[in-house]
Symmetry: C2
Subunit: 190 residues, 2 copies
């Protein structure tokens, strides 16, 4: 088995795994299916990953790291205006959601299949991401842009955004930025 490093080969395999996990679900995806998709034999898979669990963890970690990076970058770029920051977070969220769609669908819907160790590690990453959101929501509340309970508002907004993976069609007429603006418009006091 490889060490836990991030060889380019492993990264490519992780991408393919994410796609299969979305298509079939984690449990129904067999190591033989994964291997075939990767053009290798099933035994060879365990040269790159300790076990099937580790593949799942790699997929989710990849997606969450990207989300965190993009969100931080967006916030840095957009100054300190609360409305601009709110809009930027919504846009960044949808941008990463559809850029790394497979990884995020796995993260959102196969989370429970992680073993406790991996789950604990990835929870911290997720918390770091959500903390960004809470800060932005807080600032928007203090500025009077939106009303309500900070906890509930952030949960509702994240729920509405995450649920888009269930219905949004990237080939349709609406861009992710359209969605973000519509959502922000929907919740802002006028």
């Amino acid at each position: 088995m490889n060490v836990m490093n991030e060889s380019p080969r492993r990264k490519e395999l992780t991408r393919l795994a994410a796609q299969l996990f979305v298509q079939e679900g984690f449990d129904r995806t067999t190591v033989r299916m994964l291997a075939q998709e990767m053009g290798i034999k099933s035994g060879s898979l365990f040269h790159h990953f300790k076990d099937k669990q580790e593949i799942l963890a790699a997929v989710i970690e990849e997606g969450t790291q990207n989300a965190l990076a993009i969100a931080r970058q967006s916030l840095k770029r957009c100054g300190s205006d609360p409305e601009a920051r709110l809009r930027a977070m919504a846009r960044a969220h949808l941008e990463t959601l559809f850029a790394d769609r497979n990884a995020h669908v796995v993260a959102l819907f196969e989370w429970r299949r992680l073993d406790p160790a991996a789950s604990a590690h990835l929870s911290h990453l997720r918390d770091a991401y959500e903390a960004l959101w809470v800060d932005v929501i807080d600032a928007a509340l203090n500025a009077g842009l939106i009303h309500g309970d900070r906890f509930l508002v952030s949960r509702f907004v994240l729920g509405a955004l995450n649920w888009t993976v269930r219905w949004y069609d990237p080939n349709g007429s609406r861009t992710p930025d359209d969605l973000a603006d519509e959502l922000v418009g929907m919740i802002m006091a006028r």
Copy 2:
């Protein structure tokens, strides 16, 4: 095997199955686990259900039928005021979501595991339910209570509501009605 009727025994077994499906996920729940939870041997399970798929379909059908019934009842009770109807739908949604929590979690997150035949049948049920929502949202838009695109608004609202199953704690200080009112307040123009 039993006919597809709704014997009380079968209904009770369906309830237990829903609980296990939530705990373990559909794929990881074995017929032996189901049988043990039900206090019978695995072979006996197939007296009540044709196969494992049929158990999943029964769980989801049960939940969706209840949601539809409760929503219709709530709308009938609350008159024709657009705001009251909007609030009633949100309350009804959360009420059924937590009254039949297991069934709904399965319906929301194990949907993909249905075979095509069952999926088509249950999609119609789901569409009937969502049609109620679109009507109510439409009326609220026409009354100027909320702003935005009817399609997007209903998707965002349903997303925010459905996502509550991931974080809402029924033993906490907030009632489902609190959540409904907060959400309605959040999206209403002021």
